[in-house]
């Protein structure tokens, strides 16, 4: 699949005139223009109900926009079939949720390795054989501040902060083009939050991965290169 290999494209993410709504009369999400280059970081704020999970599903290729275009890693999503979008998501996106990020029946390391099951290119990028890939997962866990003693534990025995580090390692393994994080720090105390975001951004930067984080927390603002409000993205452009 040629489309999935477009890692060298300038844009990790480009949204243009994006509109989404189940009902044509009401628009749930409206973004005129939004773009992220590889390695760039953006903090997106927005109140509950402003369409954050809709945006996540649109970029993930699970939902289709009513109008406008979504380009991820140089690939226009609407030109891909459903199957291709699933594969494309596996290869190009790392996603961190607010909570419940791990599969309880897999070990910590196996949770990190999970996306590689669906993404042959990321698998190849993270190591030539299972041992190398395992080492890569352990390297990322270590870089994100999770000590080796936790690596073989069942994931449900970890604290929320530790679970988020595992989720970050999973999102970054195999160097996808774009990392989407949906309020990943909302359950963390300030000290852990800052450490987590710093390590996450540093590791993303080292693999030239663009980061789009959704969060209400203004304390995080100065750690990101850019900031925007989901509400403004629609109305600002309309006013302009």
């Amino acid at each position: 699949m040629e489309a999935a290999t477009a890692h060298n494209e300038q844009h990790a993410l480009a949204l243009d005139q994006l509109r989404f709504g189940w009902d044509p009369a009401s628009t749930l999400l409206h973004i005129n223009q939004l773009s992220l280059e590889r390695g760039q970081t953006l903090l997106l704020s927005g109140p509950s109900g402003s369409g954050k999970s809709t945006l996540l599903n649109l970029i993930g290729g699970v939902l289709q926009p009513r109008s406008g275009s979504i380009i991820v890693a140089g690939q226009t999503l609407s030109s891909l079939s459903t199957r291709q979008r699933d594969r494309f998501r596996a290869e190009n996106l790392g996603i961190i949720f607010q909570q419940f990020n791990l599969l309880p029946f897999l070990s910590v390391v196996d949770n990190v390795l999970l996306p590689l099951q669906f993404a042959p290119q990321r698998r190849a990028a993270s190591g030539d054989n299972p041992t190398q890939r395992r080492q890569r997962a352990e390297y990322l866990l270590d870089a994100l501040g999770l000590q080796a003693e936790h690596w073989q534990r069942p994931s449900h025995r970890l604290s929320v902060g530790q679970q988020q580090r595992v989720a970050a390692a999973r999102a970054l393994i195999g160097a996808p083009a774009l990392l989407l994080a949906d309020e990943p720090t909302s359950a963390l105390d300030p000290v852990n939050r800052d450490r987590f975001v710093d390590l996450l951004l540093a590791e993303a930067n080292s693999s030239a991965c663009a980061v789009l984080m959704v969060s209400h927390d203004p304390a995080l603002a100065d750690r990101f290169a850019d900031q925007a409000s989901l509400l403004d993205l629609g109305s600002t452009a309309q006013a302009a």
Binding site: S53, T82, I95, P115
Partner: protein
Amino acid sequence: MRGGLTGFALRSLWNRRGSVLLSVLTLAITVALLLMVERVRMETREGFLRSVSGVDLIVGARGHPVQLLLYSVFRLGDATNNLSWESYQALAEHPQVGWTVPISLGDSHRGYRVVGTTAEYFARLGGGDGAAEFSAGGAFGETFEAVIGAEVARRLNYSVGTAIELAHGTGRINLHNHDDRPFRVSGILAPTGTPLDQGIYVSLQAIEAIHLNWRSGTRIGSAPDLDEAQLAALQPRSITAVFVGAQRRAAVFSLQRMVNGYRAEPLTGLLPGVTMQQLWQLTGGAETALRFASYALVGCALMVLLSGLLSTLNERRREMALLRAVGAGARHVFALLLVEALLLVLLALLLGLLLAIVGLLLATPWLHAQFGIQLREIWPGMTEMQVLLGLLLSGALVGLIPAITAYRRTLLDGLTVDR
């Protein structure tokens, strides 16, 4: 995830083993029950057929063929009428008749029926394809000798040489004993799993001899002392039934017609296979009910399994969303759920098969002692394999339900579970 899908499903199931194991056990137990019912049913039928294999025609006094079959072969109930020795001789000398084995019933020993017959009985009604085998001793030679079936020997702990007294009538407790004429056990038959095992066999002359001083069912005085030559000359006036082998198989039907239209005496001739079918039609209702009940139980257990799978789907929505987020398609979610259900059903079937085999092994002595059913084959045959295959397919169909549900739900949920 193609290669890893099964392993993935296994790990997920193992994580929920507590709740899953219970429904698997339920299914396994019902499957075992079904397999055991099928096996016992088949073995019973086969045992029935075995007990008359080689016999072409059974002749008795006029009556219902099923009743004649029951008392002559299975020693159940009593004959209402006998047939005369003259009729028997006419039959035995008929050109189309190959061999005959007469039997005379009516006496018993501690609940086991006494069969007065000829030594040819052991050659013709061996309970299998050929002659009966003796595990000890041999056929009766002198008049007051008896051959006993394997079960009689085992239950009453008799051996060759043991002296036994016969009782008049077939009740378990009997006031009228032929205690003036004790018999000596001359041989013990090898077990066959047929009614052969439950009989005591003496010569027709012996039956006559012990009834010499009997009139209308009571004993008058004591039996006259006869020497062996006089005893051998005793001829029965009537017998209970005759097993007949035809000269040629094709002659069986004309023989039956001849018997049923016999002028001198009203007789009934039955074809064992045909009458066995009639008997099964009579018992078929209970049999069908039992089978239906065991299939219904398996159906219930599948429903238990299904409700277990469906009830966890809601808790697992996050798991599915997570899988979608790391790149799984809705079809992967579908396949995962289906594979999970199939693994559970497969496990339950294997467990059920194991339980059935263990159950049959344990039940064999009891079934034999209680009902005379001998299970010759305990390992599953073609029929069981077909049943298991059918159950696996039903399991797959049941597994489709949670798989489709999860598939549709995951399309709605996408990568996030908000509600």
